[in-house]
């Protein structure tokens, strides 16, 4: 449906996106996530035709765009949903949604689909943030786009609204069967709504894959850190696999370890829920501090022989500061391994 190959976007002297490859299949939602300024919005603007690529190729359906062959935005059939919604302030909700739609039934359909019936004659300035976002999405979908591009669609909304609107948008896109690129800087959002996730850093795509894969098996330290909490723990490659200072359990895949190990050492990504804690007088760690999070508790623990780690456990496990605990790695999947960092 969409294929981006070796895309580079430049603003004057600054390179915003470089050597960017991504394809989106029919009906698929791909989230692009990364820190502010990583170039994710520039990718969208290039696909929408608001920015000209300096190099590379963008294929949308039958259209091919590169540095020499431009296709104006109005011929690309990309439905763009802006961070600031970009609703036409002088047009009512219905007129925004039906901007270039000749069939009033289509407008009615999308007004109903996004629950905007009671606002159809309202002007954009009178709407709440969530309503504006729904109008913006309805407007994009009503124009029968081949591809929807969402630029941080939830970042201007308050937290309570984000959670529910996230699913409303995803459901609407899936119901319409339109593929989408969804740009966000919120990792939770990226992991939960995307069929696939692309993680960007400094203009480059670091990793793209299914959410679980990116989270559990990040290919770079940046992706590992960006998608969730965790520490890199030194591990030793022995006969059967990799072992850490935490316990005797074997973590990580031997083949993977062999690829990255240097003089028998690797760094193991340990996320807080990969660890289990149990009160034990003769344990291997001591509790530094604990935080109650409702469903769970987060503890910082210091290994007697090793660094400080964080563990997220059930709220039923109540531990006191300074208490000695036994820590073990409880994850059933192989942990991600990296070549050892320079000490």
């Amino acid at each position: 449906m969409l294929a981006i190959r070796d895309l580079t976007v430049r603003y004057r002297d600054r390179v915003a996106v470089e050597h960017f490859d991504l394809s989106v299949d029919a009906g698929e939602i791909v989230t692009l996530v990364g820190p502010t300024g990583c170039g994710k919005s520039s990718v969208l603007r290039a696909v929408a035709g608001l920015e000209r690529p300096a190099a590379g190729q963008i294929r949308i359906g039958e259209l091919t765009i590169d540095a020499r062959h431009d296709v104006p935005p109005e011929r690309r059939r990309t439905g763009l949903v802006f961070q600031d919604f970009a609703l036409f302030p002088h047009l009512s909700v219905a007129r925004n949604i039906g901007f270039r739609v000749s069939d009033p039934a289509v407008v009615d359909h999308w007004i109903a689909a996004l629950g905007l019936e009671s606002h159809r004659d309202a002007m954009p300035a009178t709407l709440s943030g969530g309503q504006k976002q729904r109008v913006a999405l309805a407007r994009a979908l009503a124009h029968a786009p081949a591809l929807v591009l969402l630029d941080e669609p939830l970042s201007n909304l308050d937290a309570a609204l984000k959670a529910s609107l996230r699913w409303q948008i995803r459901d609407a896109l899936k119901a319409a069967g339109v593929p989408a690129i969804w740009v966000t800087h919120d990792q939770d959002e990226a992991l939960s709504v995307g069929d696939r996730v692309g993680v960007m850093n400094a203009g480059r795509l670091e990793q793209v894959g299914e959410p679980e894969q990116c989270y559990r098996a990040p290919t770079t330290r940046f992706v590992a850190r960006f998608l969730g909490d965790g520490v890199f723990l030194r591990g030793r490659l022995s006969d059967g696999g990799v072992q850490t200072v935490v316990d005797r359990s074997v973590v990580g895949d031997v083949d993977a370890a062999r690829r990255v190990a240097r003089s028998g050492e690797v760094d193991v990504l340990v996320r807080p829920h990969d660890l289990d804690l149990e009160p034990d007088e003769r344990g291997n760690a001591r509790v530094v501090w604990g935080r109650y999070e409702g469903e769970t508790r987060l503890y910082a623990i210091r290994l007697h022989e090793g660094p400080e780690l964080q563990a997220r456990v059930s709220h039923e496990v109540r531990l006191a500061e300074g208490q000695t605990v036994q820590t073990r790695i409880s994850a059933r999947h192989a942990l991600a391994l990296f070549g050892p960092a320079e000490a």
Binding site: L50, P72, G79, P89, R100, A125, H143
Partner: protein, 502 residues
């Protein structure tokens, strides 16, 4: 993506057109006889004296009124504010003419009441009249800074033992100093540029002598004087650009409750100021109408005023559009906008002098309506740019992007998105230029085609000829135009905010 480039090029052309008169003046003044017989010193002294006295007067009147309308419990504060701002819309020649005719031996006051009054002429008289029509600048800028003031500061000062008066002096005044300065510099700019008041009240300032030289066929000397005046204007403009206005968010508004005696006193002073600035001219012109009737009035004068003003409004809007667009788009555009809006600082008489010379060089422009319209556009372009720029700024680039990605080609996006959003600003800008051009005197006096008499030039002819009675209709009509302008100015802000919130 090509439109910003187009608007940049257009802005460069406009900026050059605005700078052209200055070049013309330089060219014209080369070789001019510098010897004005020691007159130069007197002209500079008169000009600076008038400016200084007017600024002083405007600050003394404007600052207390800003305080009263911003922070007291005076009933009907908003009505008072509108009334006190009104003199700003009255052209100074109306006031100067009225004061010239009303006071002194044989003046209207003596004729009507038999009371002998001293004439209002010269430095003191001109400063008095200028103060009456310029204090609103100080009132408005000071009030704007006062509104940003946190009332808790005064409470803190008073709880530390300062009486209210001392608290205002030591805590409030230093914080609104830049607001007062901004207003004072506007007053200075207006006073330096004003032609009619010193001309009618017979004070030899730059503007008056430029006109005298022009009439004596000393165009080169008029140009030289114009350049000297422009230096003074430039000094004021530089000072103005250096006045920084700091912004704070008020936690709590200051509210001073007035004692009954103070309230009565303040009300009396405000009534007096309004009577002097608004009622007296209206009564003088009204008395003439009552005495002499409207018989000799030629209605064509109205059309003669309106027609060039309409053309100027249309042209100014067309020129202002690309300038506003470029200014909203980037830094280069903002600089060009500044140059393009310099025309407001060029006094009308100076602009007139420069363009008269242009007319003498370019035959096809000589004494044409076109030249008059060009003069109006160059002078009042800033009004159009200001109004249009506000609305252009509302057209977010993303809106165009949204329209395009919904399938609208560039022209359709402009017609259906940009244009409806810009239109209110365009209409407002055009109306402001129209109202200003209708009331313009000095440039009109110099540039009008032979035989074209407008309301303002008619007023001037009547003054020069001394048939004051015939000034009644033009004077009252111009007061009416000013009233429309005032209503328009006051509602402008409301209308924009109302549109913004719906």
């Amino acid at each position: 993506m090509s439109r910003p480039a187009f608007s940049l090029i257009a802005s460069v052309l406009v900026a050059l057109a605005v700078l052209a008169p200055i070049g013309v003046l330089v060219n014209l003044s080369v070789g001019a006889d510098l010897d004005l017989g020691g007159q130069t010193t007197a002209i500079v002294a008169n000009t600076l004296g008038l400016t200084a006295l007017t600024v002083l007067g405007a600050v003394l009147v404007g600052v207390p009124m800003a305080l009263v309308t911003a922070h007291t419990d005076l009933p009907g504060r908003h009505v008072w504010l509108a009334l006190l701002a009104a003199p700003l819309a009255v052209p100074s020649y109306i006031g100067a003419f009225a004061y010239f005719a009303a006071f002194g031996p044989g003046g209207e006051v003596e004729t009507l009441t038999g009371l002998a009054t001293p004439p209002i002429r010269g430095l003191g008289g001109a400063a008095l009249v200028m103060t009456l029509y310029t204090y609103p600048f100080v009132l408005l800028t000071t009030r704007a800074s006062l509104r940003q003031l946190d009332g808790s500061l005064v409470d803190a000062a008073r709880s530390l033992g300062l009486p209210l008066g001392a608290a205002l002096w030591r805590v409030v005044l230093p914080r609104v100093r830049s607001g007062i300065a901004a207003g004072a510099l506007l007053v200075a700019l207006y006073t330096l540029s004003d032609f009619a008041t010193p001309a009618i009240l017979r004070l030899d300032t730059f503007t008056r002598i430029i006109y005298v030289e022009y009439n004596a066929f000393g165009l080169d000397r008029a140009a030289l004087l114009s350049l000297q005046l422009l230096v003074l204007v430039a000094v004021v403009l530089v000072l103005e650009s250096r006045v920084g206005v700091e912004r704070e968010t008020p936690q709590r508004r200051l509210e001073i409750s007035l004692r009954a005696g103070v309230r009565t006193g303040l009300t009396a002073i405000m009534v007096l100021v309004l009577a002097a600035a608004l009622a007296l001219p209206a009564m003088v012109f009204g008395a003439w109408l009552w005495r002499d009737g409207a018989g000799g009035f030629d209605p064509m004068l109205v059309w003669n005023s309106a027609y060039p003003a309409l053309l100027a409004a249309g042209a100014a809007v067309l020129v202002a559009l690309p300038v506003a667009q470029a200014a909203a788009a980037g830094t280069a555009g903002r600089w060009l906008e500044r140059i393009a809006t310099l025309g407001f600082g060029i006094p009308g008489i100076v602009m007139g002098t420069a363009l008269v010379y242009v007319g003498l060089q370019l035959d096809f422009l000589y004494q044409t309506l076109t030249l008059l319209v060009i003069g109006y556009v160059l002078r009042f372009l800033p009004l159009a740019v200001g109004a249009i720029r506000t609305s252009v700024a509302r057209v977010d680039a993303n809106l165009i992007g949204a329209a395009r990605s919904l399938g609208a080609p560039p022209l359709e996006a402009f017609r259906r998105v940009s244009l409806p959003l810009i239109l209110p600003g365009v209409v407002a800008g055009g109306a402001l230029v129209f109202l200003e051009a209708m009331r313009e005197l000095p440039a009109t006096l110099l540039l009008r085609p032979t035989g074209l008499e407008t309301l303002t030039t008619e007023l001037w002819q009547v003054y020069e000829a001394g048939y004051f009675g015939r000034a009644a209709m033009p004077g009252l009509l111009l007061i009416a135009v000013s009233a429309v302008a005032l209503v328009f100015m006051l509602s402008g802000e409301d209308r924009l905010t109302r549109r913004g919130s719906h």
